[in-house]
Amino acid sequence: MAFLIFRYNQDDGKLTSVTPYDEIPYGFENQDNAVGIEYDYDPETEFISALVLSEDKTTVTNKYPEKTVEEQKELWQQEIDQAVFSHNLNICVGIIKSQVRVLIEKLRFSELRAVELDALNGNNDNQITLARWRVAVRDANNAHEQLLLSSVTTQEQLDQFNLNWSEKFLSENPVPEFD
């Protein structure tokens, strides 16, 4: 008989670990994010991470019934890999988006000059130039983000994907400057 502890993420309630112990770990108490239960665990027939708790957290079941230990391990690994890939994909979307901010920050001085010159000239030509550049930045970002989401489906592809779109954009679309 083993004492299993199921630990859950405090943020989203997802199961983060199932660990077998030969005794109740010192200091352990059942809590919302950690549930301990005695279970007749046999590592010869069950992979520990294939075990889950029922919704009322009273019964242990195997989420891959009828599978060998090796098959259970493989199925579990596939789930983990998919979760990691999704997480990493989100991070990469964030990295792509963050380049918009970096580029737009480069306009600070140009924005001041554009307003000043347009006031003197009685038009808004320079401000329109800046607005168009900002729109182009966002369009380039959206296109790159879309390219990532539509073309990358595996971690290997993600590792190869070049997230830096802003360098090429800047070389083709220099920051507008006004004399």
């Binding site: 943020d11 010192y26 990691v84």
Partner: protein, 487 residues
């Protein structure tokens, strides 16, 4: 009432400083692509020591941690590199800063530590920098019963010749630059196990109280390990900090030579009359998928009573704890934690088992990831006086664990979960208490009853921070009237 001002000097006979006000660890967070990066350092009372944080925007009178617009060189060039970022979880990734194997006696592989004299809470290095530092984390051997933990000893696997031994300051980069790169300040300790024995990396322990040095050797024929204990060894702290001591007796040469082959320390470790051989263990370490880690790295504690406890990461199996009796007989494998795929230093020197020691020098904890490169943990804490140990395992495929010594006999244990809101998850464990009340080999619930919403991390939004152990003056915790004196 008017004060009397005199020009006469005031005599001060004693000067005191509270050792607990020294830095203990820094929380490191980085979301440099948009949400800032930096360090918040806490002292041994968990009060603030120092802060060093960069802004993701250069308009707010702080240094900029985001690429572009004048960020410092490393932040500018390596921004968004996974090795310094906290926006991802270790899981099966090999790079993240919060990997379980990233902290150790030498601090943090990817980051620099605060010291008792530093004003900043920490700083970053480059990808190449952490690779170099990690070679030192691989080689550093344990030191126990030491009040002055200002030095480190290193062992480099030298094949059938034995163990290339170095002693120097407690500095990963000093070891890398002077010993690994330049090849000075090191000499070979002969292998003593027998014909098939090879030297290992970082597999030894210096017990200051008993003046003994244990060295583990690996038998390539049987797949087993065997300790040698060197008795009445020279003062290794003196050897470490007074570099010239290693060269006493050397002859000036006109011809080139590589490793040191002279001096009293070298001579001592060539004489087999100075050593006691323990029996070979019976656990075959040659069959694990990550053979180099299992064969050639053993986090070892030489206890005051002569027992030896050794923690070995066994990649894609878990870990094995061996223990030898004081008479040199092998007690056996006292724990084999197991779960799933994991990797040791055969995948790179930045992976594998690590160790740390309490300020008192009386409790050593050794640990390694349980999932791939840096998630989950196998952990043991060994009482130096008698070899009693407690253990913990977490089958966590997502997050890492990071720890540091705090106070005299305690360890701060942190869980690198999402700190967006709660800050870092932590708990201080009084190791002398738990080693006293728990049975030998008992399990302690390190992942239970974390505290959060107390220790902030220097970034925001979704992030998985880690901690960086500080390099403080441990002698101040002891009644040592002449700290830092080198004999």
């Amino acid at each position: 009432m008017a004060r009397t001002i005199t020009s006469k000097a005031t005599a001060i006979s004693t000067r005191t400083q509270d050792p607990y006000t020294q830095p203990a660890f820094a929380v490191y967070g980085s979301h440099a692509n948009s949400h800032g990066s930096g360090f918040i350092c806490y002292n041994h009372n968990l009060e603030i020591h120092s802060v060093f944080t960069g802004d993701s925007n250069n308009a707010y009178s702080r240094f900029r941690s985001q690429a572009g617009g004048g960020a410092p060189e490393f932040y500018n060039n390596y921004n968004n590199s996974t090795y310094m970022e906290c926006h991802g979880v270790p899981s099966s990734n090999s790079e993240y800063v919060s990997n379980t194997c990233n902290t150790g006696y030498l601090g943090h592989q990817n980051l620099f530590s605060a010291t008792e004299y530093s004003s900043a809470a920490g700083y970053i290095t480059t990808d190449a920098g952490r690779q170099r530092k990690s070679e030192c984390f691989r080689d550093v051997m344990t030191i126990v019963n030491e009040e002055n933990q200002d030095y480190a000893i290193f062992g480099y696997a030298n094949g059938t010749s034995g163990t290339l031994f170095s002693a120097g300051p407690r500095s990963a980069m000093r070891y890398y630059g002077e010993m690994l790169q330049s090849g000075i300040r090191r000499f070979n300790i002969i292998r003593t196990g027998g014909t098939d024995y090879n030297g290992c990396h970082g597999s030894g322990c210096y017990n200051v109280k008993t003046k003994k040095l244990a060295i583990i050797e690996y038998n390539t024929s049987t797949g087993r390990i065997r300790p040698t204990v060197w008795n009445n060894v020279p003062d290794l702290r003196s050897l470490s900090l007074n570099g010239e001591a290693q060269y006493f007796g050397l002859t000036q040469r006109s011809a080139a030579y590589t490793n040191q082959t002279g001096g009293p320390a070298y001579q001592f470790f060539q004489d087999t009359a100075n050593r006691t051989l323990y029996n070979e263990g019976t656990h075959n370490l040659s069959s694990y998928s990550g053979t180099a880690e299992a064969r050639y790295r053993h986090q070892t504690v030489l206890c005051d009573n002569g027992k030896i406890v050794s923690f070995t990461m066994t990649p894609s199996n878990g870990c094995v704890v061996h223990r030898w009796n004081a008479d040199g007989t092998y007690e056996g494998e006292v724990w084999n934690g197991s779960w799933t795929t994991s990797y040791g230093y055969e995948q790179g020197s930045r992976f594998g088992a690590r160790w740390q020691v309490t300020t008192s020098g009386k409790y050593v904890w050794a640990y390694c990831p349980s999932y791939y490169y840096g998630a989950g943990v196998y952990w043991v804490c060994i009482r130096v006086s008698d070899g009693k140990f407690i253990k913990f395992q977490s089958n966590d495929s997502t997050h890492g664990r990071a720890s540091a010594p705090i106070g005299m006999n305690s360890m701060i244990w942190t869980y690198t979960a999402n700190a967006d809101g709660p800050g870092i998850y932590w708990k201080v464990w009084e190791l002398d208490y738990y080693l006293a009340i728990l049975a030998d080999g008992a399990t302690v619930g390190l992942d239970d009853n974390y505290t959060n919403y107390v220790l902030d991390c220097p970034t925001n939004t979704t992030n998985y921070p880690t901690i960086v152990p500080a390099m403080y003056d441990t002698s101040m915790f002891h009644n040592n009237t002449t700290p830092r004196t080198i004999k």
